[in-house]
């Protein structure tokens, strides 16, 4: 189970990295249509991956951006800075 979680997390990190990179690029190239298309592609993929992750391993975002199952799953470890993460 730990392995699968890490694998899915890595996929999210990869896709989100592409989105971060494109976001910064678009900040200084707002009229680049190809970059914008790619950004929207990764944004959709990221949304799907995050939903998949959260259903199994709990919320990724605080303050209402991720729903939670019962009981409140936000407090579940491991936290990102921990070795078991």
């Amino acid at each position: 189970m730990g392995h699968e979680r890490v694998h899915l997390l890595k996929k999210i990190q990869e896709v989100e990295f592409a989105a971060v990179e494109l976001q910064l690029f678009l900040d200084t190239h707002p009229q680049d249509q190809r970059a914008l298309m790619e950004f929207n592609h990764y944004s959709r993929e990221l949304m799907m991956l995050k939903q998949q992750f959260e259903m199994q391993y709990g919320p990724l975002l605080n303050f209402g951006f991720s729903p939670s199952q019962y009981p409140w799953r936000w407090i579940e470890g491991p936290w990102p800075w921990e070795r078991q993460y």
């Binding site: 999210i12 990190q13 990295f17 200084t28 990102p80």
Partner: protein, 190 residues
């Protein structure tokens, strides 16, 4: 408003217990050209920067820098976790232990606490963006020093990622500077 995402931007896989590296890494937490300085510098400059491109860029890079603070602190935490007092002393972390046990603190490797004196803001977009570009180069150079000092392959991998981000941020700030200068010239001609 900020939202916390319960994950690291880049995976940290520390294999060894390199306490000396933990000490050196403090420079990128609470040191002059560290990630905390970067985050506060950019987020603080946003208010007086004139173009929308630069406002967006300072917001986004400032936010990414906060994620880099988390990568650095995670590395320090994992490298020092479970170390004995003798091991901490041997790595030059005895003074850190004396002051606050194993707690993390935004200070440089010599224990000098982080200070806002490391950053500057002028409401002059050309001055501010040049400072930001210089900061990215200084951080890149610092990562190269750290890569020379590091042995742990996992730590080196994360340090290489962070070094590369400095190069990209420098590039983007350069583009924002060009846009700001075009904006200033257009205003003068009119």
């Amino acid at each position: 408003m900020w939202i916390y995402e319960k994950k690291l931007q880049y995976p940290v896989k520390i294999v060894s217990c390199d306490l000396k590296l933990a000490r050196y890494l403090f420079t990128q937490y609470g040191g002059p050209d560290g990630e905390l300085s970067a985050a506060i510098r950019y987020l603080n400059q946003r208010y007086t920067i004139p173009t929308n491109e630069a406002k967006a860029l300072l917001t986004d890079i400032g936010t990414e820098e906060l994620a880099h603070v988390e990568i650095i602190t995670t590395m320090i935490y994992q490298l020092t976790e479970g170390a004995t007092v003798e091991q901490l002393e041997a790595a030059g972390l005895g003074t850190f232990y004396a002051i606050r046990n194993g707690a993390l603190f935004p200070a440089d490797p010599n224990g000098v606490p982080w200070t806002a004196a490391y950053i500057q803001a002028h409401a002059d977009p050309v001055a501010d963006l040049h400072e930001d570009m210089a900061a990215e180069q200084k951080a890149r150079a610092t990562y190269e020093h750290l890569l020379n000092l590091a042995e742990d392959p996992g730590a080196k991998d994360a340090l290489r990622f962070l070094r590369e981000r400095e190069v990209v941020h420098f590039q983007r700030f350069g583009e924002a500077l060009r846009i700001v200068q075009e904006y200033q010239q257009a205003k003068k001609v009119y």
